[in-house]
């Protein structure tokens, strides 16, 4: 299965919600309110099912998923 880069996923989520698709890779996505918790849940499930990121640890620190840069780090570590 070919997966698109994680930044494109975030950008298409923004576009789906009528938000400007331009985003700095260090800009907060979720804590800023740019995307809501439903989007966050979608993203998390995609991280697990399509990018092989293991979020199973009940105490996983979720705050490291708030920017595209952080997401890219996470995805590349899982690849």
């Amino acid at each position: 299965m070919s997966t698109k880069p994680i930044n494109e996923v975030v950008i298409s989520m923004l576009a789906d919600r009528g938000k400007p698709a331009e985003i700095d890779s260090n800009e907060a996505i979720f804590t800023s309110g740019l995307l809501d918790s439903l989007a966050a849940t979608e993203l998390m499930m995609a991280l697990e099912s399509e990018y092989g990121v293991d979020l199973a640890d009940a105490d996983f620190d979720i705050s490291q998923l708030d920017t595209i840069a952080e997401l890219e780090t996470l995805v590349s570590a899982a690849a």
Binding site: A39, A40, T41, A46, D61
Partner: protein, 527 residues
């Protein structure tokens, strides 16, 4: 007899007696009752000389500044009006015009929504949190020179505490006006079964525009418990949040639990710190209850029911062994009414039905709200005087069983509740028709899981626009959660016997196995 009904009074008393106590924690920030009182009093001092309509808007996320704004508005003697961050600019502008706010309070996220276009319709006085970007003409909290008295402004029980918006069938949301007296009566009844203490740590999973936030905030402020605000990111892993912050009290819509279940995040014994879990806003299906009861073995589970129009909550059912289930739906019953409520089950003619028969749930109580802001017709339709008593007709169907337990059986109208958001399908249709420039457009809720709608699907005969364009144009006037995830184009609409668009036929089409499935699966949503 209490003389000051200001909704900030309870908070002010805790702040005086126990100023060091943690009031709110949000991410890396936290604030004590004492410090939050000072911040609220500063905000109140900036508001007080400017009060005219006595309405103050709060545009913010789940943040300490937004809560300080709520408290400051109340402290000054104003009605606080939370404005939804998900509203598109056009809707925000319409409501700003209607509301005639004396002031607007914004946090960092709210300030971002104040485009020049929106600002033109905003009140002159704008207070912003210190971490917010500069907004022309606004005053940062720290720049406010004065501080209001230690005691909140004196209000009677009839004055408005807050206005919360909920979906309306006319195409615009309705503002439910709740008096200080109704909120006090609600809190008096609710604290009896919550048993909160200063040791409790309450998670806040919902926005300030949702009235579950009112429950958490004002009960915490009455008892001196701490509030732990969850960011959108924390919502991705609520179980991690509960564990990290030793949360003792949880309240949310069941969808959040179902998301955790779907992601395999709920294992037995995972959440030992919880002592009380409350579910509200959607039918509570038994598999959800069972999963939570196993994950939170030390927690009591309560299912509560209440329209915003009756001040947050009016019936309650504790999870018992065996559980009290609504047989036809496989959900927990909504239980028994608060002591200050009378419940009637009404037939189509409005006359009361005997126990066991299903009809519309009507509620009478001193806890009822004052009705809808600037919408007397809608108010008169929903709130009716019968033999000198004021009743609210909920639009919810239910029946009372032989033991006096109330069971919820769905809606009388085309209102649905998705993830706690109340949506009038007519409201969405109004926008779909306008965008498509045709009356031949309708919206259904679909698909259903455990009897709970998961999404909206629109149908239209419009020829000149494709699905993406229609959705994009709807997004300009509706919050994203109200825009159908799929718009299906049809040559014609099926009609029922009354020549109305036949929603049942459309639903049957969606349920047919050959139908191309607009899936609720996340990977498809992402594409």
């Amino acid at each position: 007899m209490r003389k000051n009904f200001n909704i900030a009074v309870d908070f002010s008393e805790i702040a005086r007696k126990n100023p060091e106590k943690l009031a709110i924690k949000a991410g890396k920030f936290e604030i004590s009752f004492g410090d939050l009182a000072v911040l609220a009093r500063k905000i109140a001092s900036a508001l007080q000389p400017n009060l005219n309509t006595k309405r103050v808007g709060i545009l913010g996320s789940r943040s300490i500044p937004a809560y300080a704004g709520i408290l400051g508005a109340a402290w000054a003697g104003a009605t606080y009006v939370p404005l939804n961050m998900k509203w598109p600019a056009e809707r925000l502008i319409t409501l700003l015009n209607d509301l005639e706010l004396d002031a607007l309070i914004v946090d960092a996220s709210g300030a971002k929504l104040l485009t020049p276009e929106v600002l033109e319709h905003a009140p002159e006085l704008i207070l912003r949190s210190d971490d917010a970007a500069e907004v022309p003409g606004s005053i940062a909290f720290s720049e406010i020179p004065g501080v209001a008295p230690e005691t909140p402004a004196v209000l009677t029980e009839d004055e408005l505490g807050y206005i919360v918006f909920t979906s309306g069938s006319t195409g615009m949301p309705k503002g439910v006006m709740v008096s200080c007296g109704s909120l006090k009566r609600y809190l008096d009844e609710t604290e009896k079964w919550m048993g909160l203490t200063q040791a409790d740590r309450i998670a806040e999973a919902h926005d300030i525009t949702f009235d579950l936030s009112i429950h958490n905030m004002f009960l915490a402020w009455r008892e001196g418990s701490s509030l732990h605000l969850m960011t959108a990111l924390d919502m991705m892993a609520p179980q991690a949040f509960i564990r990290k912050h030793d949360i003792t009290v949880w309240m949310s819509v069941p969808t959040i639990v179902n998301n955790m279940r779907r992601a395999n995040k709920l294992s037995g014994g995972l959440l030992p710190t919880l002592r009380l879990s409350i579910f509200c806003g959607e039918p509570l299906a038994m598999p959800t209850v069972d999963a939570w009861a196993s994950a939170a073995p030390n927690s009591t589970i309560e299912n509560i029911y209440g329209p915003t129009e009756c001040t947050v909550v009016c019936t309650r059912q504790r999870l018992t062994n065996p559980p009290l289930i609504t047989p036809k739906r496989g959900i927990l019953a909504i239980g028994q009414a608060y002591e200050n409520f009378e419940i009637a089950i009404c037939g189509e003619d409005g006359a009361p039905l005997p126990d066991g028969e299903t009809g519309e749930i009507a509620l009478a109580s001193p806890q009822l709200s004052n009705g809808y802001f600037k919408a007397p017709e809608q108010t008169d339709k929903a709130f009716r005087m019968i033999d000198g008593k004021r009743w609210y007709y909920t639009g919810d169907l239910g029946y009372r069983d032989e033991n006096g337990i109330l069971h919820h059986m769905g809606r009388t109208d085309n209102q649905v509740k998705m993830k706690g958001n109340r949506i009038e399908l007519e409201e969405v249709e109004t926008h779909l028709r306008r965008v498509c420039n045709t009356e031949l457009a309708t919206v259904v809720a679909w698909p259903f899981i455990d009897g709970t709608p998961q999404g909206l699907v629109g149908f239209t005969t419009a020829k000149d626009k494709d699905e993406a364009t229609i959705r994009k144009e709807m997004m300009a006037t509706l919050p994203e959660y109200m825009v159908p995830s799929r718009i299906l184009l049809r040559d014609e609409m099926p009609r029922n016997i009354n020549d109305k668009i036949d929603r049942k036929a459309l639903l049957a089409e969606l349920n047919a196995p050959t139908m191309e499935t607009p899936s609720a699966e996340p990977e498809k949503v992402l594409v």
